[in-house]
Point group: C2
């Protein structure tokens, strides 16, 4: 407002421009986060979504296809635990995927970046620990089952998918931890 | 130094002096890492050492004290897994404790800070996942055991200690991830 009243020939006072320090920080943060890591992160979220849904579906599938099947996965609490954990991870991965797509389409409309970083840090860790726990618990149950049984095959596929999902989530947990650190350090 | 040779009237070239940014980085890194977080980290390592050794010892104890005990933890592969994981975490916690004490007594003689940060990042994550896996696997075995049995009690104590150790290691994993991020960002 005060600049309007000053004539152009008059020497202008030094303006409070952003320092090179703050500028470089901001540019590094955005350039490193948006195109390459953001797309890679989205891909990992999609992978976790597919793997966890495959793990959950493989447990449900034998029951619906074979009516003569005497036992379902509901008879084994460990497999139910594995199923529930994979459903939870599926929901979480779907949320992260939705959030990532919202960011691309229209930045920041869904949830603020700071809250999202906190959520990612906590829930990635939690999802990783739950998945490794569920996968581990299901292994002794598979060993006790009848080999060649359709439920045995389903449980095998489920545990493998669950473990693969864990590996993906463990990697995204490292990435989200890195992003969180960038936020709290700067 | 270069200011002495250049006459005051001559336009000075931009010198490669340390910027306030890099200076603040160095001071922040050392001041935040040494006294408070270093001591807290050492305390967590000590806690993990105690808890994992307690978990492993509680499984061994009933065998040595009661000779009439028909079954030992070796009859249950899940408990053997829990025992082995806790021994590995004990060894790792002992190494971290030894490294921390070496750093206090005589800085950097044992292992370089960079290598140590990489080791901490990887093995903290690994130890956390192994501990939660071992704790989870042992829970169904305990449910199948005879209640009130001395092995049952031992397994209960072992799983509780193992889970407490997991919580401590999960926290140190966050701290070591933060320290690693500080290193690779700066």
């Amino acid at each position: 407002m005060s600049n309007i009243s000053i004539s152009p020939s008059q020497p202008q006072p030094p303006l409070p421009t952003p320092s090179p320090f703050s500028f470089s920080v901001a540019s590094t943060r955005w350039s490193s986060r948006r195109p390459p890591i953001h797309a890679f992160n989205l891909f990992l979220r999609f992978l976790a979504l597919v793997l966890s849904s495959a793990s959950a579906l493989s447990l449900v599938a034998p029951k619906s296809s074979l009516r003569k099947q005497p036992t379902t996965f509901r008879d084994y609490p460990e497999l139910v635990y594995c199923f529930v954990v994979n459903i939870l991870v599926f929901v979480y991965a779907a949320y992260q995927l939705f959030k990532g797509i919202c960011d691309i389409v229209h930045r920041g409309i869904f949830i603020s970046d700071m809250v999202s970083d906190y959520i990612s840090l906590i829930f990635d860790q939690l999802a990783g620990y739950l998945l490794v726990s569920a996968s581990s618990v299901a292994v002794p149950v598979i060993q006790q089952m009848n080999n060649g049984n359709s439920l045995w095959k389903a449980a095998m596929v489920s545990v493998c998918m669950s473990f693969a999902s864990f590996l993906v989530i463990a990697f995204t947990a490292l990435l989200s931890g890195y992003r969180f650190c960038k936020r709290i350090i700067w």
